[in-house]
């Protein structure tokens, strides 16, 4: 792989469900270490985009390349290996309810990577330490706060050594005072060089860390550009309009 090849390349993907076009010819690319942020009104296809990138939903056309490898060429069996290299974070955490924090992180190491129990738990513990939850390892998801749950899910994704992380509104289901602890972990990750694509409404956060803003509406990428794109205020383009509206509601 040469330095000019993007780490993740999404090439002209479309997704049509029941005759309705959810994604319309979307392309984007991430170089190693990039944090790109996808914003836009709900129903604009942002979540579908993320799920098409790791082929949880198979796009009707187009392809995704991870380090130059085509997802479409993988076939049904190898797609699991492809997904393994892409970490995914969900709005509602999706922790496994029957496993405590430690085993939530360790289970995929054992069942997907085939590691021994002791080894997997050791790795899981160090990932929980990384997100500051080592002392909560024995608690079940229902015994954790929203912010803690999301941090466990970050640890769970990191344990798989992903090349890229996809984050689907990681703070949208959190109480306002818990958003900070999750954003901190994400910021640290980005600074340590993790490549990430994040859907969020945290415009302030996005502005500080991101290399590029991608504005999506009605299944299309409408605008792309540096974070300054958002600062033009009303009348400065669709993305700026949208942000101005968000600011009106949140008062920021």
């Amino acid at each position: 792989m040469t330095s000019t090849t993007p780490l993740l390349e999404v090439s002209r993907i479309s997704r049509i469900i029941d005759g309705k076009t959810i994604l319309d010819d979307v392309s984007l690319s991430l170089n190693k270490g990039d944090l790109k942020v996808v914003i836009g009104p709900s129903g604009g296809g942002k979540s579908t985009l993320l799920q098409c990138i790791n082929f949880l939903q198979v796009p009707n056309s187009g392809d995704v390349f991870l380090a130059g490898q085509s997802a479409r060429a993988m076939g049904r069996r190898n797609i699991c290996g492809f997904r393994q290299k892409i970490g995914m974070i969900f709005q509602d955490f999706n922790l496994f309810d029957h496993l405590n924090a430690l085993d939530n992180v360790a289970v995929a190491l054992r069942k997907v990577k085939g590691e021994k129990k002791v080894q997997a738990r050791k790795r899981a513990m160090s990932e929980l330490e990384r997100v500051g939850l080592a002392d909560k390892f024995h608690l079940y998801p229902s015994q954790l706060s929203g912010g803690q749950k999301q941090r466990v899910s970050l640890a769970r994704a990191l344990a798989m050594d992903p090349m890229v992380m996809l984050l689907d509104e990681p703070t949208s289901a959190l109480d306002p005072e818990l958003i900070g602890e999750v954003l901190n972990v994400i910021a640290q990750l980005s600074l340590s060089g993790m490549t990430m694509l994040m859907v969020t409404h945290q415009i302030g956060f996005a502005r500080h860390l991101t290399t590029e803003i991608i504005f999506m509406e009605e299944g299309r990428v409408v605008e792309t550009g540096p974070p300054e794109l958002l600062e033009a205020g009303p009348g400065g383009g669709r993305a700026a309009d949208f942000c101005a509206k968000l600011a009106e509601v949140t008062g920021r």
């Binding site: 949880l56 699991c80 955490f93 309810d97 069942k111 079940y140 015994q143």
Partner: protein
């Protein structure tokens, strides 16, 4: 106490009492057969019901249709008909085929036919229990597992079923108590379980009430014991936040 008891315990009454106790013991020994019948049938039902439920929820269309067909068939036929169908129909075919090909006669027991009939039918019912439990789980967990690189099968086995099975225990204990009482039908094939022994004694002695009371008591005890054990299993495997916590409603204001 002593004088009336002495007159009650005349040699004749004592003899008939010991006779009854002996035959009661004979009937009670049927518990072994009944329990074996139920355990095997429940196991077959579990082995059939679990994959059926997974196919119904996660399988491709043709497996869903096949599972539907199975369930429709076994839920639509009375246990008694099913037993006759297996014992006199299916087993006869196997026996004659076996005789034809290997030359050796093969006899399949009524017990096996009863186990199969009860087990295969229970599989249909159990699949509906597990299906309901799977559908009650938040679907995001399955998606999260796939996103981490789990195959569909291993996500079902390691993530979905451990939760679905825990949630299913109360409904499963209901299935146990129904199956236990359905097992009485097995007497028609001559499986020597509680009911068959009861019938045998009543036709031998021409007394009915005490024997049927005894049979009822035995079924009651087995139901109570099994349900009690499954309740304990439910408590032992319970995980905070998984399934419905009845206690959570205790704090609400009463009417």
């Amino acid at each position: 106490m002593t004088p009336p008891a002495a007159s009650l315990l005349s040699p004749e009454t004592l003899a008939s009492l010991s006779e009854f106790l002996q035959s009661a013991l004979f009937v009670a020994q049927g518990c072994g057969y009944t329990v074996a019948l139920i355990l095997l049938a429940m196991s077959i039902g579990l082995a059939v019901g679990l994959p059926l439920s997974a196919f119904q929820v996660y399988g491709p269309k043709w497996t869903r249709r096949l599972a539907g067909l199975y369930i429709w068939f076994f839920r639509g036929i009375p246990i008694l008909v099913l037993m006759f169908m297996i014992y006199f129909g299916f087993f006869n075919i196997i026996e004659s085929v076996c005789l034809k090909w290997s030359g050796k006669p093969l006899t399949l027991s009524p017990f096996l036919a009863s186990v199969l009939a009860l087990g295969l039918a229970s599989g249909a019912y159990q699949s509906q229990i597990f299906k309901g439990a799977i559908l009650s789980l938040p679907s995001g967990q399955f998606r999260a597992a796939l996103a981490m690189g789990f195959s569909r099968t291993s996500a079902i086995v390691s993530i979905v079923l451990p939760q679905a099975m825990r949630i299913s225990i109360p409904a499963w204990s209901n299935e146990y108590s129904i199956l236990l009482k359905d097992s009485a039908v097995a007497y028609v094939l001559g499986t020597m379980e509680i009911m068959a022994r009861t019938r045998f004694m009543t036709s031998l002695t021409f007394t009915h009430t005490p024997y049927y009371l005894l049979a009822g008591l035995l079924y009651y005890l087995l139901t109570w014991l099994g349900v009690k054990m499954l309740n304990r299993l439910d408590k032992m495997t319970r995980i905070p936040g998984l399934g419905h916590d009845l206690k959570a409603e205790d704090h609400l204001q009463a009417d």
